[in-house]
Amino acid sequence: MTQTHSTVAGAQAGGLRELISFRIGAQEFCVDIMAVREIRGWTAATALPQAPPFVRGVINLRGAVLPIVDLAARLGFESSETTDRNVIIVAQIGQQVVGLLVDAVSDILTVTDDVIQPTPDVASDTAKLFVRGLLAVDGRMISLIGLERVMPDLELEAA
């Protein structure tokens, strides 16, 4: 356990880490596998009043109320109509458990830290907020997403 934690933190240079890659539209993203609790199919969510557009609502995850974040909307893409083929990645973010709505999960990648390239300087705020690095896999570009900022920030909203 302690060892996997240290790979999550990426403390050791060249340490191995596992990533789950998924698809939103034509783009590919990945998150650290240690943050992922489970992957499940899409079920209709109960809408929440006064929620930001990227919060689809809440669903019942074995008795717990789980908010669903439409990752496409959150990352600033056109969010498509959800169908049964959509997938929810249940992720642990800090103390909270959140469902991330994506189009499909594609792969599990095992990479070393040095494969992950730093995010190039771009003007996009979304990139600055979420993208932690880029990977090139078989000619495809996969963005590594940091989940800390996925949920709306209470303090920012209130201000």
Binding site: T46, A47, L48, A51, I59, N60, G63, V65, M151, L154
Partner: protein, 722 residues
Amino acid sequence: MDPLAAIRETFFQECEEQLAELESGLLAMEAGDTDPETINAVFRAVHSIKGGAGAFSLEALVRFAHVFETALDEMRSGRLAATNEVLKTLLRAADVLADHVRAAHDGSAVDEAHTAELAEELKALDPNAAAGGEAESEEDWGDFEFKPMAVAAPEAPPAAGGWRVRFAPRADLYAKANEAALLLRELARLGETTVELDVSALPALADLDPEAAYLAWTVTLTGAADEAAVREVFEFVDGDCELEVSRLAAAGADDAAPLVEDTGETLDIGALLARVQAVADPPPPPLEAPPAAPAPAAVATPQDPSSPPDGQGQPRKPEAGATIRVDLERVDRLIDLVGELVINQAMLSQRVMEAGFARASGVAMGLDELEQLTREIQDSVMAIRAQPVKSVFQRMPRLVREVAAMTGKPVRLVTDGEGTEVDKTVIERLADPLTHMIRNAIDHGLESPEKRAAAGKPAEGVVRLAAAHRSGRIVIEVADDGGGINRERVKSIAIEKGLIAPEAALNDEEIDNLIFMPGFSTASEISDISGRGVGMDVVRRSIQALGGRITISSRPGKGSTFTMSLPLTLAVLDGMVVSVQGQTLVAPITAIVETLLPKPGDVHSLGGSARVIAIRDTYVPLIDVGQALGYRAGPLDATQGVALLIEGEGGARAALLVDAIQGQRQVVIKSLEANYQQVPGVAAATILGDGRVALILDIDTIVAVSRGADSLRAEKRLAATG
């Protein structure tokens, strides 16, 4: 947790129980209870705390408990009358003792000066000390007949003869600066004593070790002192001496009875070892059989001579039912699981209905039974968490004493319904608001004694704290018999603070409710007692956070009453399931007064989007829930929906317009905040029979928000973060 820490934790838990026992005993005595068993219970409580504290070497606690116990012992033996003055001192001493226990528990500091002061007061209570000596002490107890209860040693003769005490100090006793002569003098205060010095162990001068102990004494004590009292004299040298206490053969006899007689086996061995060692090895090493600890059960009970001499048959208070300590987490886990069971059972029922089984079919009937059972299990599990409000009520007398002393207002606290049970979480979160309200009631509610005299009221103000179950909720009232709310002043303060417009026309109830406004209470008018930076708005918020409501009623010159209505549990809720724009929502049934189908002529527009509905000649605001929560942009045609007439906090009425009512159901409350955040207008979430999440409406916020009080949203956020 290491075993010692666990034992220590248990000790502190028991201390809390003993302190509660102590306080309720003293209060009962103050109220005129003269039952000797009450005094004994009080004494035992302090004694147990002292005993436990000694085991954990909590010196300060032991010292104070000892002084306290001495005073109580005087009272127990009838030498100290239980006057009101004395009891007031004892109650304050109980507070200090509680402080010491808490300090020992969490390592905080104790007010040493206050402790010393009370220790002195307690010592001054001792009639012997007051009379200045031991000489007169004997005549004080000629009137009392003592019946040793002898619970621990039933074979002991019931005669009030006396004791033979053999006392052989070890070198350690002197090394710790104790003095045998003082102990003997202390013993002499318990009755008439004959002291014999045993010098048999004294060696020749040449062999004498000046640091060793060679002397022993045998004291024959006649009188009515009980064994615990005798042993108590030696409490502080426990372990540093050989001590045997044996009963004299016959009452008043002072002939030499065998030294070891009638005592437990341990003592026999101890005595034998003591002798063997005294002969064989003059400077005695520590002995493996120290004197037995004083047995609290073996206390003498002063009895009315007219009552039948029943010795052991002394009627005791009925014992509380057997209890076990259970880790709260296990209970909560069980409650969670039962919540899941309820949801699952509902889902199963729904599936069975969908599958088209007839109502009378075996499957449907079996399901009905299952539903009954599930409900019963749920109720029973909830009852595990239910506790009497006593645990929070009993903290209040102390608070009242303190605030009364600070304000110089004599106050009497009357409590009622302490046995009313409610969920433990509710109880825990009640302590702060109640504390604040009682402080307020004394500080602001009650008038000064002079004003009371002028108004023809008794000087002593009364604060009443009462709890009762009422229609599935617990209602707690804090009432004072003071001057009532000064509405003129409240209004002028509210205008000054900009909370209301100067020309606002408010009725009495609205003015009274101003004190709950955020910002009403500010630093400029905070006294030390009520202040501490929280106003009534914080009280209201904490009550609302518990799903409760608080209202005030006040009559000038008669006093004010704050009434809190709280759910019995925070885990389930009786709800009305409604649909709004395709969404399923749950409205707490406790807030709903009635439901009605609006007719075309009932609904009137008040300009803009504001609408009112006529309900039997009164107009109440009509709020479209779908609009309020942002589910739809335009208003619903009122005649197409159902209106729920609700009564919010402070009795304000409004009608909530929904599309349809689906039914009533008990729902399990699930937190939205755990994984998300607070949502304005939504109190919590629940899971319905179809497995989907439904939101539970926060009716008061919806009403407030649609009144245009946008500030309330900000207030909600503050409450969430604060």
